[in-house]
Symmetry: C2
Subunit: 435 residues, 2 copies
């Protein structure tokens, strides 16, 4: 062992662009576990440069003198830097930074799901053309080892189904609403105060973040890239305590914002929406800000991976692991997902079959149920159960319905017709059931 | 795309030793998903040879003519074979096969946990000396991508805790006992009839299989190899319906056979025993033959991976994935676990602290509780709760106790003293609580 001290170990130089929360987590991880990491890869690991527009704010992590810079060229044009970590976020200038780094022969690690979901082909093609690696484990599911297992660990499988709880903010809100019987707005405000939701939470609560991550999962699982505009994305803002209570008491289910992608007869279903998950399903136990992805492969059957889907340190864990993976093999060709996809068609949401929970808000008067069930029947939607809260005559009350398997377009048409009825006093809410 | 047809792709030749259940699963997987696999690695994948003593029994999978052989040298001495899959099981001749294959420059994939747990150093050293890879994802957790995530995906972390449900037979028995209130022997018999337990189930129900897998997990997580004889391994044969019912009704917990390894102040706790897991913990929802490993890293926090821990196809999924991983990088140096361990000492079970559930079978007569509590008090064991079923005077009834944190050696001493008391009519059963 003593001899090793005198051997020159190869040094790998890292450049970090973006010294925000995750960037600080990366620095903290390197500071904390450097001996472990260097032993793991049997190389010297050197964080040579950190670039950010703001290099004066104290991030609470120790940085070696001379490492901070405001000029991105100090990384992109430094020939000694082997790996560039992009944590700027957003589309530009992040994309330019990544492409330039690759052109200059540098491997890239990024957590930028928005960028990957939009510019996938450009980024992967550039990596291949420049013979560099690009890794992005942190982009989906934060610290959970997730993309490598899907891409490599399950490589013997045709992936058939992916269900993901992959947005911590939405999951936190739904968990809190269920635990405390509070309404959406109250819990959102609380989440914002606790730092679990952004000042502008749209991206998380409307499902866009989930959708971007699902795009990446679909590439890895099915070898197909689907633009976000091409599939149904629905957030959690219309979920009420009534929905959650009915789901629990009558259906033994919880409401989760699910990313869903599954293949059937060469057709891919891909969608993001609140979903009723039976309490017996493992995904129902994924609470608070935690994430999990449940998937089924044709050889392995069901697999689930769970952990912290966001946050400074968990995300840094994945970013640093990507760096180590690259250090262990800088020559590995970039290949994500099956090279040939089985997907021949992406199914429109209107052609999806599901069971549906409907909450119709109607006056409690004779004939209401008769009219509603007539509409449903005309559209081939058969009712599995119906229950209605009692109320004073003439007062609007929720009617809870669960349908058998029905066609989405028929259900949408039914809701349109039902919501036009004069005794219906609020928009009907729909939640799809898992399976 | 058409051009590719005319390009010569590199062929990778595989030799499979052992055409049993898992071997048949490997052949079935290759038959079923060959185009997917070949596209993934961009090479031609050829199962060149299958060796088994029995090459006449129909395994229900298609085999190309000329592939079957009874001579292992047809694999070990065939220069064209790149990867040897060892599915013979047991110690010998499996070890000789693996070492010979490596000597002859062949990469090795194995599912042989018994062999790895016993001959770890020899196998890894041989791989390193011969510059070949050895992969064994299937050896722990069957089809779950588990070892690669621990070894690579969480490489930025010091692993702090590992809790595993990694024996499907034991988990199936405990799940069934809980669901149906049946006793151990009845469920074991049922499990044997369904093929979930071997004719001689000792290995699974006494915890040995779990222990071997835990040895492998400890190497990957903590960089330390602990012989099975050096740690406490306890099976599930003493668990009764009374234990399970009390755990559920009074403690909100379920009984699981856990593999536990955790580090505290450079001391490693490593042990296998039935454990009371709170229903709110994800591991409590891992039922039937499924496996899961829950671990905590110092950067990422908690992570859980779940799936089918055994069985023909799930295990084959991992074996084939290992082959693909090797095909993508045959030069990757063999390195498992941290190169330098933080473990300075393996803690003896007698020094472990835990909360304990005790089931004492005693006559229902005055003074019993007083005597028992006296023993516990003398040994610094403080009681959190106690409850006793009412019975006719003079009849033996179970007394259920839960202790606060106590030292294992004190609890063992207390049980010895209690079981010597004349009013105690059966051996006291102990189950440790999680955390």
């Amino acid at each position: 062992m003593q001899q090793e001290v005198f051997l020159m170990k190869e040094t790998v130089n890292i450049g970090l662009i973006g010294f925000g929360t995750i960037g600080s987590g990366v620095v903290a991880t390197l500071n904390q576990n450097l001996p472990l990491l260097e032993n793991k890869v049997n190389k010297k690991v050197n964080l040579k440069r950190i670039v950010d527009l703001d290099i004066t704010t104290d991030r609470g992590v120790e940085v070696q003198p001379g490492v901070l810079s405001t000029s991105v060229d100090d990384i992109l044009e430094d020939e000694e830097i082997d790996i560039v970590i992009e944590l700027v976020g957003g589309y530009q200038p992040a994309l330019s930074f990544i492409l330039k780094a690759m052109e200059n022969g540098k491997h890239v690690v990024t957590a930028n799901k928005a960028l990957l979901a939009k510019h996938w082909d450009e980024i992967i093609t550039s990596a291949q053309e420049n013979n560099v690696r690009v890794s992005f484990e942190a982009s989906v599911g934060g610290g959970i080892p997730l993309l490598a297992p899907v891409n490599d660990g399950l490589a013997a499988n045709n992936i058939e189904t992916i269900y993901g709880i992959i947005n911590g903010t939405a999951n936190y809100i739904l968990t809190k609403m269920a635990a405390e019987g509070l309404d959406f707005d109250t819990v959102l405000k609380e989440a914002q105060e606790m730092g679990y939701a952004e000042a502008d939470p749209t991206f998380d609560i409307e499902g866009h973040d989930t959708a971007q991550k699902l795009i990446i999962l679909s590439i890895l699982g099915f070898g197909v890239y689907v633009e976000q505009e091409k599939f149904h994305v629905e957030g959690i803002t219309r979920i009420t305590p009534d929905d959650i209570q009915f789901a629990r008491d009558e259906l033994g289910s919880v409401v989760k914002l699910l990313a869903i992608a599954k293949i059937e007869d060469s057709e891919l279903e891909i969608r993001v929406h609140p979903t009723l998950v039976p309490e017996t399903h493992l995904l129902a136990s994924v609470n608070d800000v935690f994430n999990a992805v449940y998937l089924e492969g044709d050889v392995v059957g069901p697999v689930l991976m769970y952990g912290a889907g966001a946050g400074m340190m968990p995300t840094a864990s994945a970013v640093v692991a990507d760096c180590l993976d690259i250090m262990q093999d800088m020559e590995k060709p970039v290949a994500y997902g099956p090279r040939e996809t089985r997907v021949e068609k992406v199914k429109d949401i209107s052609d999806v079959q599901s069971k549906y929970y409907l909450r119709i808000t109607a006056l409690d008067q004779p004939g209401v149920l008769h009219s509603i069930s007539g509409v449903l029947s005309d559209l081939d939607i058969s009712i599995e159960s119906v229950s209605q809260k009692k109320a004073a005559e003439g007062e609007a009350v929720p009617i809870f319905m669960v349908t058998h398997q029905a066609l989405e377009k028929n259900v949408q048409e039914a809701i349109k017709l039902i919501d036009q009825m004069e005794f219906v006093k609020a928009d009907t809410n729909l939640i799809r059931l898992l399976e």
